[in-house]
C-alpha cells in the first residue's frame, strides 16, 4: 500500500541545486542521505547511474535489481542492488510510479534523429545534449570511462512492454512529481536530464529538475524498502556486514 504521508527524511534541507533540463551532474552522496528529485516541468527524464564511491568497481546492477525483486521496473519499495549483493539505494518515494530500467541513455544519434542538432556554437548553453555522452563526461571526472558505464535507470520515465515484448514510451505530465532516493551506501552518482532514448515528443524540451539533499530518518521496524521482500532484507544484511564497524 502506498502511504504518501510517511516521510523518510528530516525536514531540514542540507542543500539544493537546480539541474536544468538536458544538463548533467555528479556528486558523492553519503549513506544515510535522501536525495530528492522534483520535476519542475512536464517532460522530465533523469538518466541515473551510481557506483560505490569507496570501491568504484561495485556498480548498480540492473539484472540483479530486477530479478531479486521480481519486477521489470523500479519504484517505491524497491532497491537499486549492486553487483555484489548489496543495497545501494532505496526508492522511498516515487510519484511517477514506474522508472524505466530497460533502456540505455539517449545517444547523440537518437537525439539528432528525434530533435535535430543544436550545437554550442548555434545555441550556447541551450545546445542539445544526450544522456550517454553526458554521463560519460561526468564519469570521466572520477577517472571512469565507457568500460565502467553499465546499465542505467531512467527516473520519471515509463517504458511499457506488451505481451509480445514490444516496448513503448508512455508520455506523462511529470510536473511537481517527486522521487526520493535513500542512500544505503556511499555512492558516486551521475545524472543527465536529457530526454529519454524513446522520447517521442516533437520538441527538445526536457524539464528542469530540483535536487535537494536531506538526512534520512532511522529505519522503522517495517521499512518500505528493506522489508518489502525477503530478498531486500538479505541485501540489507549484506550491507550490515559491509559496514560492520559503522554505526
Amino acid at each position: 500500500m502506498h502511504m504518501s504521508t510517511i516521510t523518510y527524511h528530516e525536514d531540514h534541507v542540507l542543500w539544493t541545486e537546480r539541474l536544468p533540463g538536458g544538463h548533467h551532474w555528479s556528486a558523492r552522496i553519503q549513506r544515510g542521505a535522501v536525495l530528492q528529485l522534483q520535476s519542475l516541468g512536464q517532460n522530465a527524464n533523469v538518466a541515473f547511474y551510481c557506483v560505490n564511491s569507496e570501491d568504484k568497481l561495485e556498480r548498480y546492477n540492473m539484472p540483479d535489481s530486477l530479478k531479486g525483486q521480481h519486477t521489470a521496473f523500479l519504484s517505491t519499495g524497491h532497491i537499486l542492488a549492486s553487483d555484489l549483493g548489496r543495497a545501494m539505494i532505496s526508492i522511498v518515494k516515487d510519484d511517477h510510479g514506474w522508472n524505466d530500467a530497460f533502456c540505455a541513455p539517449s545517444t547523440v544519434q537518437l537525439i539528432e534523429k528525434q530533435f535535430g542538432q543544436q550545437t554550442f556554437q548555434d545555441a550556447r548553453n541551450d545546445m542539445y545534449r544526450n544522456g550517454k555522452d553526458s554521463l560519460l563526461l561526468e564519469m570521466t571526472k572520477f577517472g571512469l570511462s565507457a568500460t565502467d558505464l553499465s546499465s542505467t535507470l531512467n527516473l520519471f520515465s515509463k517504458v511499457q512492454p506488451d505481451d509480445n515484448g514490444n516496448l513503448s514510451y508512455v508520455q506523462a505530465d511529470n510536473t511537481e512529481q517527486v522521487i526520493e532516493l535513500r542512500f544505503e551506501m556511499d555512492c558516486l552518482v551521475f545524472l543527465s536530464s536529457a530526454p529519454h532514448a524513446l522520447d517521442n515528443s516533437t520538441e527538445y524540451a526536457p524539464a528542469d529538475v530540483q535536487l535537494s539533499l536531506y538526512k534520512a530518518l532511522p529505519l522503522l521496524d517495517a521499512d518500505v524498502c528493506r522489508d518489502s521482500c525477503h530478498q531486500n532484507q538479505r541485501a540489507f544484511q549484506n550491507n550490515n556486514r559491509y559496514y560492520a564497524l559503522s554505526a
Partner: protein
Amino acid sequence: MTALVKLEESVLSEVCPAGEAWMCEVKKGQYFRIVDLEGNQAVDTLFISASNPEERYSATDTLAINQQIYLEKGTTLYTNFGNKIASIHDDNCGRHDTLGGACSCESNTVRYAHDTYPMHSCRNNFMIALSQHPIAKRHGLNVRHIGPNINFFMNVPVTSEGHLKFDDGISAPGKYVEIKAEMDLIVLISNCPQLNNPCNAYNPTKIQLIIREGEDASHV
C-alpha cells in the same frame, strides 16, 4: 550424445561441460552456433569487440534501439557505442533473455539464502576466465568489462504490468542459436551452474559450440 552436431565447414567445434567457462574469438562474418545438447540449459554470454574491448554488447542499448525485450531470429545486437556487434542469424528455440543477467554468489545470498554463497555461479566463471584464459589476458579484460549479458535458451517472461519471473525453459535437446558476427568478437560464456531456480531445469548440462565461415568468406 545424439544431439551433437557435425557441420562440414566448421572451423571449430567444442563441447563445454556443465557449469564451466568458455571463450573464443569470432571474426566478422563468421557464424557462431551454440547447441543446447540436453535441453533447458541457460548459456550466459558476453560479446566484446576484439579491436576495442571498451566496446561491448549492451543489453540496454539493444532494448532501446529494437524497442523489444526478447531476442529472437533476426534480432540485431548492439554495443554500448550503438554499433551492430552481432545478429541472430538462425534459431529454433524461439526466444532468448537479456534481462536476467548472470547468477553470482553475492546475488544468490540475496535471492535465496546466505548459505548458497559457496555454490558455483556464472560470475565466478567469468572471473575464472578473466583471471586465466589466454584470450582474456591478450585483450587485457577484467571485471570492468562485465556488463548485463545474454542468456541464450533462458525464459524470463515480462508482463505489461511489469512483473518479471524466471520460468521453465522453452528449450529442448538439440535446440540451437546461430549468431553472425558483425565485428571481430571476443565471446565469453558461462555454461550456467545455477541449481536454485528452473533456468537449467535444476540439471545443468553440456553445450556444443561451433564456428563456421560465412557464405561470403574469402579464402585467401
